[in-house]
């Protein structure tokens, strides 16, 4: 068997020692949450991947809202992230604007909020818990588009 020990970093060694000692078992709720992730699968959806925006991606100064952009074939989802009170507010723009009857779902592992898309392609949701989220765009005449899971922490 070919091995490449040079790839072993400190964290991997520490993890291996702890795992072998069995003294830090994985909490039951962590395993339960991992199983529950499967309920979030969208097999028919196209994934919109994150792209770098003009504002340095992932960096936030005190006043500037975070701007995230996700691109799939033929569809762009832009999200402005603000967190005035420890919870997460999202204001979104989908372009080009899909037809009437488009529904947007804002998903976290714990809850899903649905919003009809405005005629100009906008939607908003407030008061989300910090953590992982994803936005699904359900178009009446095409497959859904889902943004790559992203973690937001105020």
């Amino acid at each position: 068997m070919t091995r490449h020990p040079t790839t072993i970093d400190d964290e991997s060694l520490i993890a291996a020692l702890r795992l072998a000692s069995g003294s830090d078992p994985v909490p039951a709720q962590v395993t339960a949450a991992a199983r529950a992730v499967f309920g979030l699968r969208l097999p028919d959806a196209d994934t919109a991947r994150p792209v770098v925006t003009s504002v340095p991606q992932g960096v936030r100064s005190a006043e500037e809202p975070g701007l995230l952009r996700f691109v799939a074939a033929g569809l762009t989802v832009e999200l402005e992230v603000t967190s005035p009170d420890g919870l997460v507010d999202l204001a979104g723009q989908i372009s080009p604007c899909p037809g009437a009857g488009t529904l947007v779902e804002i998903r976290t592992p714990h809850l899903t909020e649905s919003r009809p898309l405005s005629p100009t392609g906008q939607f908003a949701v407030t008061g989300l818990p910090p953590g992982w989220f994803s936005v699904v765009c359900h178009r009446p005449d095409s497959f859904p588009v889902v943004t790559s899971w992203t973690r937001i922490r105020p």
């Binding site: 830090d24 199983r35 995230l68 790559s148």
Partner: protein, 190 residues
């Protein structure tokens, strides 16, 4: 053993196949992210993100035997980002790493190259601690303490080892280097 049937079952919507994968890797992923000095809440966050990413990218994993390394690399990346956040970097969302999802996990490391995955077998786990037992002090005690007290702070660990707090980090680094060399030498022996 190939994971191809597992991947196909999961892609077909088989929750039991997913659950089996979770059971197989949950412990290794937990240890992997906890090694980044994450508290339990952040560690849970990193692990959950890892599974979300797998669900999102499973159909792109070409080599079915790479699920383990893929999960592991992804978990380490999430944990590393969380640690950076705790060190004072303000990130509203994590930096875009578009290369990651496609190439990095598949290319990073080799199957069984990572000790955390190797330790999933009882034999490897025993051999790792046998290597520690051959080490001189303070390494032997340091590793035992580090492994059994995952939530202890540096000051507490240093105190129990009878060394100044400032010495703990450098000593741990030297001990890890030594252990790494021992493992490397062992692997090079036929």
């Amino acid at each position: 053993m190939s994971d191809q049937p597992v991947i196909e079952a999961i892609l077909a919507g088989d929750q039991a196949a997913w659950d089996a994968l979770v059971t197989r890797f949950a412990g290794a992923l937990w240890s992997a992210v906890r090694a980044y000095d994450l508290n339990p809440a952040d560690a849970a966050d990193a692990v959950q993100g890892t599974w979300l990413r797998l669900l999102e990218n499973l159909h792109t994993i070409r080599d079915p035997d790479r699920i383990g390394p893929w999960l592991f690399t992804t978990a380490k990346r999430e944990a590393s980002l969380l640690r950076r956040r705790h060190r004072g970097e303000r990130l509203v969302a994590d930096p875009v790493d578009t290369e990651h999802a496609r190439s990095a996990p598949a290319d990073a490391g080799h199957v069984h190259a990572d000790p955390v995955l190797a330790v999933l077998t009882a034999d490897e786990s025993r051999r790792l601690w046998q290597a520690v037992d051959r080490m001189p002090e303070p390494c032997r005690s340091l590793f035992r303490l580090m492994a059994t007290a995952p939530d202890a702070g540096v000051r507490q660990l240093a105190g129990r080892l009878g060394m100044p707090s400032g010495s703990y980090g450098p000593t741990r680094g030297r001990c890890l280097n030594r252990l790494r060399t021992m493992l490397t030498t062992r692997e090079a022996t036929p």
